[in-house]
Symmetry: C2
Subunit: 352 residues, 2 copies
């Protein structure tokens, strides 16, 4: 791979539109000057904004698309024949055709997942994709997946997630052998859905070289950063993620109210402003913006629909880092080792 990373953007995506998408792209380009962009969307909306960013303009190709996928479209609607002229589909197609290395969109999550799955197709050996999130922890960052691509997962699929998540951790965090935990609940004997127990047994048996299996973790281990990769099925993962996001917003709200309540508190706030800024930065949801669809022949990144330029740039940076560090290659080579190992364990049920 050359140093150039080509990123296709759905410029119409989300509630944000070209203004935010292009401002974000420009920010990211400043940090990674070798990025090239393929921009998909309504040329009449893109060009005037692009004119404001000369560097971005010279690093970009604009591809006009008449159609944009709206935020309330159902995946089934988005997959209809005519929607393949949409900016979202075209941006994904660019990855399939080799015109881009990674696609980033702030658009409709369900549509992006459905289109990516159909257009890029699953990697050989992977049964279903997962949406991976970067989770800020007391120790730094972890990867949590699946946070909502599908509901439910069997043991084999949880092992796939472990493998993809640890490849992503190696690509992003510069770790040789990330630790992986399976999310579970700690009540004795209730403990462990069968598929989670079986996945644990498999991970121990296989002892894959690209990850170190650490056993079960619980919900409070997420923020603690007990492991580098937390694996769960999409329903639970989505609830855990939103529950944590909600709690963070709730506490920020308490803090704001407490600091505004008395004159003394407001004076204190002025003295401690730098500390509060630091805290705000720590808690900034934009910094970890970007869910990654793993398991496809190509990387698709979902930015929050309501983010700003800084947040969208973080999603682009994430895409850049993963391509730069050869995420797909890492997953592929792990899969190969995994398939050999599972063949060797002789457990035909699990060696898909």
């Amino acid at each position: 791979m050359t140093d150039t990373v080509t990123i296709s953007l759905d410029a119409m995506g989300g509630d944000i539109g070209p203004e935010v998408v292009l401002a974000g792209a420009d920010l990211s380009l400043k940090r990674h000057p070798t990025i090239r962009y393929e921009l998909y969307g309504e040329a009449g909306a893109i060009e005037p904004v692009l004119a404001k960013y000369p560097n971005l303009k010279s690093a970009s190709n604009v591809h006009h698309c008449d159609i944009s996928i709206t935020m309330d479209e159902k995946p089934s609607q988005a997959l209809r024949r005519g929607r393949r002229d949409s900016s979202m589909w075209k941006a994904i197609l660019a990855v399939k055709n080799g015109d881009a290395d990674v696609v980033v969109s702030a658009g409709n999550t369900g549509a992006l997942m459905a289109m990516s799955k159909i257009c890029l197709r699953m990697m050989a050996g992977i049964e279903r994709p997962a949406l991976a999130a970067i989770w800020p922890t007391l120790k730094g960052e972890s990867i949590v997946l699946d946070v909502g691509a599908t509901i439910g997962a069997n043991a084999k699929q949880l092992v796939d997630f472990s493998l993809m998540g640890s490849a992503m951790a190696r690509a992003l965090f510069d770790l040789d052998k990330p630790s992986v935990g399976l999310l579970n609940i700690g009540v004795e004997e209730v403990k462990g859905l069968d598929e989670i127990k079986d996945a644990g047994t498999l991970l121990r048996q296989l002892s894959l070289p690209g990850l170190s299996y650490s056993g079960f973790v619980e919900g409070d281990d997420l923020g603690r950063g007990t492991v580098d990769v937390v694996v769960t099925e999409g329903f639970t993962g989505n609830i855990a993620l939103k529950s944590a996001e909600g709690t963070a917003r709730q506490i920020a709200e308490y803090l704001r109210a407490a600091m505004n309540r008395t004159l003394l508190a407001r004076i204190g706030y002025v003295f401690a402003k730098q500390a509060f800024d630091r805290l705000r930065q720590k808690m900034d949801p934009r910094k970890s913006n970007g869910g990654v669809f793993l398991g496809l022949n190509g990387v698709a990144i979902k930015s929050h629909g309501g983010t700003d330029a800084e947040g969208f740039a973080a999603a682009i940076d994430l895409g850049y880092d993963m391509i730069h560090n050869n995420l797909i290659g890492k997953i592929s080579s792990d899969l190969e080792i995994y398939e050999k190992s599972s063949a060797n364990t002789g457990d035909a049920d699990f060696a898909s």
Copy 2:
């Protein structure tokens, strides 16, 4: 019911032991002077502590038990014949025999659940118990259940949880018709496990007088306080609860670090100390200590095993409030109405 509420305590429970249990009982007695206690545990350990609290002593009967259930005992071990002489079993049995109105224990959760279920038995019409937690929100408090009594729940069981949770909300929050939401994920078309959809349909059809069904809620609605009662099965509920607790601890840690980092921040902290104290109080996990087992013929309350006297007192207060406000009576009368309604809908599958 007279004004007296009799509470049986497993004095040996948890990592805390008689010191904390009795200190908590004394605190709660100061707030509710009509409480009577039945204390179960090793008399030699209880009596010397009790001597320090004359008021508590005169409000209590001590019942010597040789055996205590340890924190690492599995529920199946705890259910063995000989364990029925344990302080935990005896404390639960007091509720069954009418010697106490409610039992509170900081002991082994799995053992407490298993013993309560066997000793108190399920209420007629309820298929499985649920562990309900009180969740601090931006609007006040909500009830979330099940947070870990069992894994999985079908539509009928989710409706049972809705009914029990709303009875608890009416007992605790002085509401006539609490709003109830079913926890779900918001990705279109992935949206909704069948049992959750079916439970929603049922709740709409039945239109029970004791609750107002508000539809699906997502993980971030928990902290927002969108509804008074959030219903989910035990695996997801446990992960959501611990994920939120972990996030709260994580942010408290960030805040502490930020406020200690520079001299200015420390000066600011001094000015804003009152505000921080207020925040700390808002976030104090002891205030909402106490998981409630719902669905049994009697109320059993699980306090956190590692709490202090203030936390244990909160669990006792919770028990007091629920008995004082006739929780079991509320659930029973709701169940009656529910059974009539479901008979009327003619949906034999759901009218158990």
